[in-house]
Symmetry: C2
Subunit: 314 residues, 2 copies
């Protein structure tokens, strides 16, 4: 069976607790009890998302540094909160450590994780730890948004403009070419930047009608947005990451850019704080969701081509 690590366990918790830093806004009790305790403030809705990151499915220890894994484990949930126009508050972490994991790896993991946590203003509030054969982490992020004002997938209306942030296909290019390929693409793959400030901007200033993050590829994710909104979409080729193919931009996952719709008359800047915002199409009236690219139905190939495993949001 799997070796047991008893010694130093309580010391490890104490060390993580110290590194996790002070309790964030609203967090009353953090690491160390049966539950973390959060005190809701004012008239806010709370947003919850959870994301798995699994060795040999979502990353490989040969190519992904411990700090990259820690960063990405949290980035995915933050990106979901950004896609709702929310502000992240705290997160909990479940971590199954494989037998190859040593203290140095754990330190690197927490360095990457807590580096992003600091930048995003979220606190590690608790979690669970076990040993397994493969390293598995699961991060649950809690965010907040003004009551009833978060951005759903289901609000797109016929005539709305369809936009994406950033340039697409970079993560797929990075995954394909690996760490020896274009450094910018590898960085896009291992260190995605959750678009938190942009999500708030979409909610507050652009009154976006729908939004989601691009985790599984534009062809799959836009279809999901259409299905949730009971509409269809006609689009053109999206803006591409330098070196990425059209295929990678259309179907590559894990770009963690935002896909959103705005009312027909809304003026969207071409860039916002350095991030390109590109109109790629328009929402069409049609209850059965279809995405047309250049007049032809766009197949949903996100999973097959670029992802190593199926993954779904429940």
């Amino acid at each position: 069976m799997i070796p047991v690590r008893v010694n130093g366990e309580d010391e490890l918790i104490a060390r993580i607790s110290r590194r996790a830093g002070r309790l964030a806004h609203g967090l009353v009790l953090g690491i160390g009890d049966d539950c973390a305790v959060f005190r809701p403030q004012g008239r806010e809705d709370l947003l919850f998302t959870t994301d798995l990151l699994i060795e040999d499915v979502h990353f490989r220890r040969q190519t992904h540094s411990a700090a990259d894994v820690g960063w990405k484990a949290l980035a995915r949930g933050l990106s979901d909160v950004a896609a709702m126009g929310g502000e992240p508050r705290f997160f909990v972490l479940s971590l199954a450590l494989a037998s190859w994991v040593d203290q140095r790896w754990v330190n690197g993991f927490y360095r990457g994780l807590l580096d992003l946590a600091r930048r995003a203003g979220v606190t590690l509030a608790g979690g669970d730890m076990a040993q397994g054969e493969k390293l598995v982490c699961d991060v649950m992020v809690c965010g907040a948004a003004p009551r009833g004002r978060w951005l759903p997938r289901s609000g797109a209306r016929p005539g709305d403009g369809i936009y994406v942030s950033g340039l697409l296909g970079g993560s797929a290019l990075g995954l394909t070419r690996g760490p020896a390929g274009p450094p910018a693409a590898w960085r896009q793959h291992v260190r995605p930047q959750p678009r938190l400030a942009l999500g708030s901007f979409l909610r507050e200033r652009l009154a976006a009608t729908a939004a989601m993050d691009l985790s599984d590829g534009l062809s799959t994710d836009l279809w999901r947005l259409c299905r949730a909104s009971k509409v269809s979409a006609t689009i053109e080729a999206p803006p591409r990451f330098p070196g990425a193919t059209l295929e990678q931009a259309l179907h590559g996952g894990e770009d963690y850019e935002l896909l959103f719709t705005v009312p027909p008359k809304t003026s969207v800047p071409l860039r916002w704080k350095g991030v390109p915002l590109t109109r790629i199409g328009v929402v069409r009236k049609r209850a059965r969701a279809v995405v047309l690219l250049g007049g032809e139905p766009l197949e949903r190939l996100g999973y097959d081509h670029f992802r190593r495993a199926g993954r779904m949001k429940l």
Copy 2:
């Protein structure tokens, strides 16, 4: 690499969504968007806990039925909420499916999971799904308690009485003897009953000073309660599950009974709604946590003897 399951994925989500039932109290948006949305009510604190359940670490597919795995995946988090005196509200589920998993297993898993969810009055609000080599599930439960009134581990004071609910060692006995052993012990191991009503009773009626659930064995968990409260404890042998040894009752994990302390003058009934409540000792003044059994320091053996892997709450 791991085979990809694309087809039927969105149908699976739709099916789970239907089975998850109606949105619970306070839940505004459930399965299907980037985040679930919860609207806090009144002056409540929210409680968060997360628990991993891993194939060949916490269960074996040869002996544990799919429904047992689903039940236990949720029971652990509910037990943490019970230990805080809280009422569970909703949960999110991350599930990595191994290649041996078929539709029948998935159905059984959700049957066990949602059976307990219905009994406890909680709703499945969302989650994440992936494929992995071993089956891994991680459940995050959100509960609620009146503001500042939840039961911490840290409130035990010198002179307080120390109590446990139920009979200890049953789960360890069940694990040791397996499904062919005593049926009651196996059932205790695979279908633990989170003590939710008892947790509320401890908070509302007994004004318990500290509480936690017995997940890692009395010897380890009582020491943790003492450490959090900066006290020590002297105890006698705890009440044993029929057939369990003293070792199993002292060090066996996963009983999911409640360990709690009450002020010296508090009258605790011998049974509450059929559950024995047994005084096992008294809290002593001593900043460095020690648990004495019959005058001798009690070793913390919970992990080594009865658990297949180290596990820790962060």
